[in-house]
């Protein structure tokens, strides 16, 4: 009979890749069951922000979890760079959310104040910058005249998400992990160990983690975990490489280390098609030009869409099965930001066989209580 792995991770994207890397690095014999090239992969479509701003307003546990990951990021980025064979472009330079017009600025001011009052003044360190302060922070940036200010989260930043994914996979392999791409998991049976039916073969493991993005609900259900996840499409486009003009990443607008300006973003419901639409791209481009008018003369070289895995409240879901101990599920749309915590804290919990208390509020059982407004 074939080998029984310590851990099988179903899903080789940003979430599964990070958990598998973390498990393998801790010495667990780990197999990563990855989809095919044509699978719906959020991890090929990320914007690349490492971001706390605006996250977890209604779920303090998620805000804390995000901050935990941000604290782990500098060392994690080093490890990923070493695994990927080149640094992955992580820049912890602060993150902006621009305001256009007086109303946006007034609303943002209220929101920043509200965040500050959360947690008895120990809320997230976000502050509001008026136009003058913003100009002082970005002396070489050609801000449009309608930009009234921005909120700034000093610990936020950005990264090259494709290099991060490569780092996760390369680090996993280097730690002795076994990568099986092109796998479609048909069913998972639990007995002494988990038997994962991959069509052509059966993989056995003592623990299993389902991190299959928008494909999570079907697999989680086989393990007694109900977790509603729906696709929310996000569109992106990138310009030709331009001289440095935006040193800090902003919500839906960042300039990469190589000079490319990346423009987002949409939140589109009700489609399983990761396509782009002219209407959305035009709106995104118009907003970007309002922020940085010289972009009107930039050439767009590529645009793409990807499907984010979204839970009913938009926050991550983590659980260990009550009926099948040793079976875990992890799903979220902040795979880049949370990758450091997934590779560290979460992987350790999986190996220990118990999710620590910080995960309690992020259990998908919350969707069974009260409203299930967006439940798919």
């Amino acid at each position: 009979m074939s080998e029984t792995f310590d851990v099988a991770v179903v899903g080789g994207g940003m979430v599964g890749g990070a958990i598998a890397y973390g498990c393998a690095r801790s010495g667990a014999r780990t197999v990563l069951l990855d989809g095919a090239d044509a699978s719906l992969r959020a991890a090929r479509g990320n914007f690349g922000l490492v971001w706390s701003q605006g996250k977890g307003k209604d779920m303090p546990a998620y805000a804390v979890w995000t901050r935990t990951s941000l604290e782990l990021w500098p060392a994690f980025a080093e490890a990923m760079g070493s695994a990927a064979g080149q640094e992955i472009g992580y820049r912890r330079v602060g993150g902006l959310a621009f305001c256009v017009g007086e109303q946006e600025l007034a609303e943002r001011r209220d929101e920043v104040q509200r965040l500050h009052n959360l947690d008895g003044g120990r809320g997230p360190p976000v502050r509001l910058l008026e136009r003058r302060e913003l100009e002082a922070l970005l002396p070489g940036t050609p801000l449009g005249p309608q930009v009234t200010g921005a909120s700034l989260a000093p610990d936020d930043g950005h990264v090259n998400p494709l290099l991060l994914l490569r780092g996760l996979h390369a680090g996993f392999l280097r730690a002795g992990g076994v990568h099986r791409p092109g796998v479609e998991v048909a069913r998972i049976d639990a007995a002494d160990s988990f038997a994962i039916d991959c069509g052509a073969s059966v993989v056995r493991a003592r623990k299993v983690v389902v991190a299959a993005g928008v494909g999570t609900p079907r697999l989680a259900a086989m393990l007694g975990i109900e977790v509603p996840v729906r696709p929310v499409r996000g569109q992106n486009m990138v310009t030709e490489r331009l001289p440095p003009m935006l040193p800090l990443p902003a919500s839906a607008l960042r300039q990469t280390a190589e000079g490319v300006v990346q423009i987002g973003v949409t939140n589109e419901e009700g489609t399983w098609d990761p396509a782009t639409t002219v209407v959305a791209l035009a709106r995104m481009a118009a907003r970007a030009v309002t922020l940085l008018p010289p972009l009107a003369r930039a050439r767009i070289v590529r645009a793409w869409g990807a499907l984010r895995p979204m839970t009913p409240d938009g926050y991550p879901a983590y659980a260990q099965s009550a009926t099948h101990p040793g079976a875990f599920v992890a799903v979220c749309h902040s795979g880049v930001t949370l990758s450091a915590a997934h590779a560290g804290v979460l992987a350790k919990c999986v190996l220990a066989g118990r999710l620590s208390d910080e995960f309690s509020d992020m259990h998908p059982a919350r969707f069974g209580r009260g409203d299930r407004v967006h439940a798919a």
């Binding site: 940036t141 030709e240 490489r241 331009l242 001289p243 440095p244 190589e258 000079g259 010289p294 050439r299």
Partner: protein, 98 residues
């Protein structure tokens, strides 16, 4: 770099030099055949770049063609008398800070 049985009979200008091309050559193909490997420098690090994929995907072969910056030279056929210039960084001046 290469030898060609027929090196062509049309000529265009590249930074003041005469480049010989065959009918139907892309600008990039003609430049490579003439031993010219650098068509631009990068906007951030000013590193040299030249034709790589030859099929419109990599955007490394950009140059200024008849006054238009950012042209993918692998996709544009060489024509007699055209003026091609190495592009220094990004399209010039347009993206200077306001």
């Amino acid at each position: 770099m290469f030898t060609r049985p027929d090196s062509g009979s049309i000529f265009f200008h590249f930074d003041g030099k005469e480049i010989r091309a065959r009918e139907g050559d892309s600008i990039a193909a003609a430049l490579l055949a003439a031993g010219e490997r650098v068509t631009r420098t990068t906007p951030v690090g000013r590193a040299p770049r030249g034709p790589f994929c030859m099929m419109g995907a990599c955007f490394d072969c950009l140059a200024e063609v008849d006054g238009v910056a950012g042209v993918q030279t692998c996709l544009v056929p060489a024509r007699a008398g055209m003026r091609v210039a190495r592009q220094q960084g990004a399209p010039p001046d347009e993206f200077e800070a306001a």
